[in-house]
Symmetry: C2
Subunit: 453 residues, 2 copies
């Protein structure tokens, strides 16, 4: 019996940053030249730029949230024992809804706003498939058509992700597909999320009544995810405990941002020191630990604006891995700005360590985490056990709060490979890292403030 | 915000039956002759025979339940619209835990009692894999070794069920295996749950410190499942509504019994007419609609006792189907006794109708039901729409409560076949039905009371 209810307001961290996010830049080939028009509902534009802290959640979205929120938070005592934790570990679990992840939090909000704007079809790209599933579910609920381009290698590895989206009524295409021009270009890499997104952008631009939408990384989607952190904060209060470290995995950053930023806003409002905010990324896409803060594009088409982000370069050849949701070259604008100011910390985790943590978590806590979420659990385990960092800079005294962002029922192939001893880590290639960012314009100002560039 | 808490007591319907269940009979080859010894913890024996209504749930089991209970109950308004319902449909969803089904409710209780009795390893047979997964999770929690024999055709169709059990630390064998004598006998059918159970019985009997246990159909496991109905009753009260029909799918009968029997006990205690209790079975295994009430064995070894059950015969060649959890030849003793007295009704549902209902439920309610659960949803849809029964005997005036007993994330192959138009119904073969029950001893007394034989 908990008194915690579904939040009625989202909470933004924008008013608590010292200055606005660096504005986007128009790329050399502008959107207008390419015939691609972006039709973002005005409310989503406002949520991306206005330094307003509290945003009312539309009643229809609150109603939809009630089907799966509040999500559970518990102290993972058996996991603590198994990893030798010195401090409590609290888990916030977002995998209990049909999409299997936190992505439904923003999918429902976006479907609501796009429908209100008169859109009849939403088109998107998806890597691991959680976002596509979430959008398919949200479109089914709000009566919109849904078209999904899913990274082909991921779809072939997890065909039932496609089945689930189709069961929800969505049209699913393996990317690269034969439906778009961008997929036929020789220079676009064959199997990345940025190409799937590029295909979706192009397809939406040429389809009547359709709009492209995106699941992660946009400032508004991180705002929608703030329900995670708002609930978690109330649930910790209800337990009478506190966490001085908050951990989430980062693809572009929406579950981490959704969990962590309300704690940041809360501390800034109260004039306290914020907790350690630790972003757990894949060692195969180490944008926050090895990347550069620079203007880069968000997808392979190059038609969208250039954004200021920590990036390993949009042309970096990301190795295949089981954590498909982390296979993205850049971090969200707002997280990148905070990283540039040393307001968030980062740790890179390999997939073997991650899945071992996930297996341990399954056996001890009776929840099967997605490979992506297992990266956060591994980082939380390091932190709780005091083994994260030789410098002592990363530590927790009171407790670690970690987001288990999704379930792994459609990722069991990864666990099977782990148990068969067939899993290896794919470390980033230093030469390729250097090459892929070499032409990018760096963002200067945070370097002057925070000493990082 | 709900005030409904995890139940502290299970509730038995035994005191509300007019007479005790027919006692088991010793088969021609007795357990002692075969060297098989059954070591059932005394508390489980008591729960099977004592006509006591309320049983305290051990504190450790209540604690374990808290990880996933209370489970959600909601009015499925969008599903109602889609099926043309004339009365409300309330759904109780048991698929949110790691086992993906209600089976964890009894697995935790059994692991607790067996461990207290000094057992170090639990051995079982599983069809669809939900029970094996539940037992694997419960054994991980209570520190027991776990060995599972899974129906081979089911394991090959859903290899990730095996992976999930192994991730939880269990040892998983495809049945028929090379580990037991019973699997080598020419007369045992190749791919049935009763053979998997027979293998588990034999394996446990020859393994030190091990005990065989079973997930469904035993009177004590139905008692453990009563948490479903107890919670549902409180949740309906909290909503200020009532259901005059209660529907669940029946393999052996534990989720249906767990949901329905507390409503029966409640009505008998209050002196009211009980709601319509409707068992939804697979048309491929129609024991309650086309079977015979007779003494039959529960598994292919024939070494356990003969039980009084509605059965299509333990030698009936059950056709392959996606609802592997419903592929069992008999119904639980307590449900069979109630069926013999016309206290429960039954409807047979084909897998095509079931999966269509499941797909509709997925799109409207954002929950992906298991194929087994979809049989209950299809029967509930018939009842709510008034299309179940031409006679008017089966109907609901106020509302239909249905148990969605499990999720379908590991059954997406079935939905894919449905969408590809490759799914057909497997109706029972009348000649085989007659043959398989022809040698059985019928149970007489309920026939004298209820007019059914």
């Amino acid at each position: 019996m908990s008194a915690v209810d579904v939040p009625r307001q989202w909470r933004s961290a924008l008013p608590h940053l010292d200055e606005p996010l660096p504005p986007d830049r128009t790329p050399l080939s502008s959107p207008d030249d390419s015939g691609v028009s972006v039709s973002l509902p005005m409310e989503l534009v406002r949520q991306s730029v206005q330094p307003r802290e509290h945003w009312p959640i539309p009643a229809e979205v609150v109603d939809a949230y009630r089907a799966f929120r509040p999500t559970p938070l518990w102290r993972a005592t058996r996991f603590e024992q198994a990893v030798g934790a010195r401090v409590p570990v609290y888990v916030k679990y977002e995998g209990g809804n049909i999409s299997g992840s936190h992505k439904l939090n923003t999918a429902l909000a976006q479907a609501y706003y796009y429908r209100r704007a008169g859109v009849r079809e939403l088109v998107t790209g998806t890597g691991a498939g959680q976002w596509g599933t979430a959008l398919a579910a949200a479109c089914a609920l709000f009566g919109l058509k849904c078209t999904v381009f899913m990274v082909g290698s991921s779809l072939r590895r997890k065909p039932y992700r496609g089945t689930l989206m189709r069961t929800l009524g969505a049209h699913v295409h393996a990317s690269p597909s034969s439906l778009t021009e961008v997929a036929q270009r020789p220079e676009t890499s064959g199997n990345s999320l940025s190409l799937a997104i590029g295909e979706a952008v192009e397809y939406a631009a040429h389809t009547d009544g359709a709009a492209f939408c995106i699941g992660s990384g946009e400032t508004y989607s991180i705002l929608h995810q703030s329900v995670i952190g708002i609930e978690a904060s109330e649930q910790l209060d209800e337990l009478g405990v506190r966490a001085d470290a908050v951990v989430g995995c980062v693809g572009a950053g929406s579950n981490f941002g959704g969990l962590a930023l309300p704690f940041f806003a809360d501390a800034r409002t109260a004039g306290h020191e914020p907790p350690l905010l630790l972003a757990a990324e894949s060692s195969a896409t180490p944008k926050l630990t090895c990347g550069t803060y620079a203007y880069d594009r968000t997808d392979a088409t190059g038609t969208g604006p250039l954004e200021a982000m920590y990036t390993i370069g949009s042309s970096y050849p990301i190795p295949d891995s089981h954590a498909a949701g982390l296979r993205f070259h850049g971090a969200a604008k707002i997280l990148s700005a905070m990283r540039g100011r040393d307001l968030i910390a980062a740790a890179a985790v390999g997939q073997v360590e991650a899945l071992e943590a996930g297996r341990l978590f399954t056996r001890t806590e009776m929840v099967l985490p997605a490979p992506e979420s297992s990266h956060a659990l591994a980082a939380a385990a390091r932190l709780a056990a005091g083994t994260e960092d030789g410098t002592g800079r990363l530590h927790a005294e009171h407790g670690v709060l970690v987001c288990a962002s999704g379930h792994g029922y459609l990722d069991l192939g990864a666990y099977q490979q782990l148990m068969d001893g067939e899993l290896a880590d794919e470390a980033a290639d230093p030469y390729e890292l250097l090459r892929a960012v070499s032409g990018l314009d760096r963002v200067d100002r945070p370097a002057a403030i925070g000493g990082r560039s």
